[in-house]
């Protein structure tokens, strides 16, 4: 198993790198973050025009048939450039769920819009005090005839403020803690009875609290099998975790580069601080952690694309390693920058916050270590 990129993949990587380096500078990014809008629609439209939004969808639905490797390549570059546009929420997660689970009619209504840059999606599952396991969802909905009635609320719905449609994870059977009985329902964000409270997040993105009061949607809006949402979710979550980790790897590599540069320029006690052996070794350790993450990332992407038996094991290792390496690298990037690294002005701290946000999603380090241990014993 050698990981090699195809010509197309190499081109995708290069074009993403080129476009973002030239058109997504940090100052521009901060303007978006500090504006009232949830993301930059001009950028988003360009992402659509460049084919990025279509890249990982099947050709039947208007995509280019890319897989985990393409997701990884794009996500990594989005991480390098600290892109706040909701590629992860709308394309990697929401889009793939719709693509995998929706009826043809719904696909054509939403997926076409999504791929052309005109539809934003959010995935709403987390509930107060229950932020770590999808099986820990309690919100229930009642099915009658060919419609389904939603009542309840969801918290910290990422991309929730921007979303046109929300994919709500809820119970049509079973009890909190059970994996069975969960259903995924597509709800228009402006449906009657659906109220949202929008806000920004610390990593410069958008989110919302949602409450549903007698929201009535057609039963056809259930994605996948009713009561079997976890089956639909599993592969999407896997690729989603890969995407987040690749984004983190991109952020980490930018942090290592920036720290190396800064310590060469910054002088203290009469010499570049890069001359201090403790800092040199710290950066060597940052580099080591980065490369170990990169190796796991490449292997995971390859294994997911090849449906390798070890794909989930490797993914768990990746998410666990990114959690510790991401913190190590981000903390030390700030430490080596000193005071200036703790300001809003430098991008260092914004990478740190994005890495923290990634770590907070889809399972902590210990969760993935436990998962890794469990899969290793098989």
């Amino acid at each position: 198993m050698y990981i090699e990129f195809s010509e197309e993949q190499r081109m995708l990587k290069e074009s993403a790198e080129k476009y973002l380096n030239e058109n997504y500078e940090f100052e521009a990014r901060q303007k978006i973050v500090k504006s009232d809008s949830n993301y930059c629609s001009t950028q988003w439209q360009t992402f659509a025009d460049l084919g990025w939004l279509a890249m990982t969808f099947a050709e039947e639905v208007g995509g280019f048939g890319g897989g985990a490797l393409e997701t990884m390549l794009l996500s990594e570059q989005l991480g390098v450039n600290l892109v706040v546009e909701p590629y992860f929420e709308t394309v990697v997660f929401g889009g793939q769920l719709i693509s995998a689970g929706a009826s043809d009619e719904i696909k054509s209504r939403y997926l076409d819009a999504l791929i052309s840059g005109h539809c934003q999606v959010a995935f709403a599952w987390s509930e107060t005090k229950h932020h770590h396991a999808m099986s820990d969802v309690a919100m229930a909905a009642s099915v009658s005839g060919d419609s389904i009635l939603l009542n309840g609320s969801k918290t910290v719905v990422l991309n929730g403020a921007a979303a046109d449609v929300v994919l709500v994870l809820l119970r049509t059977a079973g009890e909190r803690g059970q994996s069975d009985g969960l259903s995924l329902v597509l709800v228009d964000a402006d449906a009657e009875g659906c109220v949202r409270r929008s806000y920004k997040t610390y990593d410069g993105r958008n989110a919302a609290e949602f409450s549903f009061s007698n929201v009535n949607v057609p039963l056809a809006n259930v994605l996948g099998e009713q009561g079997s949402a976890m089956e639909l979710l599993a592969p999407v979550v896997n690729r989603g975790i890969l995407s987040l980790c690749a984004e983190a790897v991109g952020a980490m590599s930018a942090l290592v580069d920036a720290t190396v540069d800064y310590t060469k320029q910054r002088k203290q006690f009469g010499r570049s601080i890069s001359r201090f052996q403790v800092l040199r070794h710290r950066m060597a350790d940052m580099f080591i952690d980065l490369e170990l993450c990169r190796s796991l990332m490449l292997a995971t992407a390859w294994k997911l694309d090849h449906s390798d038996a070890d794909a989930e094991l490797t993914l768990a290792a990746l998410k666990a390693k990114v959690a510790s390496a991401g913190k190590f690298i981000a903390h030390n990037a700030i430490q080596l920058h000193g005071g200036i690294g703790t300001t809003d002005e430098l991008k260092i701290g914004h990478y740190f916050k994005r890495i923290a946000a990634i770590n907070s999603q889809f399972g902590s380090r210990d969760f993935h270590l436990a998962r890794f241990a469990q899969l290793s014993q098989k």
Partner: protein, 395 residues
Amino acid sequence: MNDNNFRAEVRAFLQEELTPELKRAGELMTSVFADFDATMAWHRKLYQKGWVAPDWPEAYGGTGWTLNQRYIFQEECKLSNAPALLPMGLQMLGPMLIHYGSDEQKAHYLPRLLSGEDVWCQGYSEPGAGSDLASLSTSAVRDGDDYLINGSKIWTSYAQHSNKIFCLVRTSKEGAPQAGISFILVDMDTDGITVEPIVGLDGRVEQCQVFFDGVRVPVANLVGEENQGWEVAKYLLEFERGGHNFTIDHKKQMAKIRKQASEEYDADGCLWRDNSVFNARFAEVAVDALALEYTELRIKGALNAGGNPGALSSLCKIVGTETGQRFNEISMDILGPQALPFQIAALEPDFEGELIVADYALTCMPEYINNRAATIYGGSAEIQRDIIAKRVLGL
């Protein structure tokens, strides 16, 4: 008075004077600073009681308490969420003026500092000279009975709220870099001073950059002799280093984590407090916090016996700050995505709106963010390790 009675007296005072608004300001602290207005309100209450400067000699407005009483007072204030007083005047400038100031300076500045009339900030660091203080370049050039000051200072906490600043300035370029430094007191409303806020990673302003453009300051404002500022600064830095008691902060952090872990559910749908891996991780850090608690006690014992903490205070700074950072990480793990909402208005003590997430989650991310600076300011973790290697181990 025995310690228990003393503690009771402190508690009674806190019970009486620490209003819900002030407590809220203490609860909402996400760094070593509390909301400015609440801080000064509490400062004035303590001043009225005569308790605003327990560490000062009684003759200058101190309380005459024993070391233990001072510790008890500090502990009770923190544990009841009193907002922290500003250290720049009370902990840094005060002791220094008492030691090096002229009688006129003492008579003029100390009462105004105690009453809260003067609010001081510290002008030490400069852009490009962080831990390497001796390389500072802000210049003070003699012009008649004045100095003309040009340059800039950075990381001046709460400069935006201060009416005074004490500065290290370069009065000579001769000799070793340390040799030409002087210590001077400056009015913030002097012409030529501008204050530019620095937005922190949490989106709020605690730090500033202060610019000096031909600022005219009377020579009488010099503390100590011209070119002798380095000695003054060193004295002060030792106060800064030794002054902090980390155990109480850690206890507050642990109490918060315990609360979170007894209300939030992990990925198995169990309370975090019943998760054995979580408990092991938390215990790892808590063990270090306990070890530091007894180390601080050893230091207190040595001080009580008239000794000197010496470089053990570097140890405390390292372990205290790094342990605090590890507690932040544990909270982040418990709270997961709940730590992400950015609700800056809710961090003001007078906020009356609705919280997005649980109260104990509100401060989690900004604390995590702001606490990264703890291993940078006041002598970075690297500088402290250099000190231990050199001064304790003789390397």
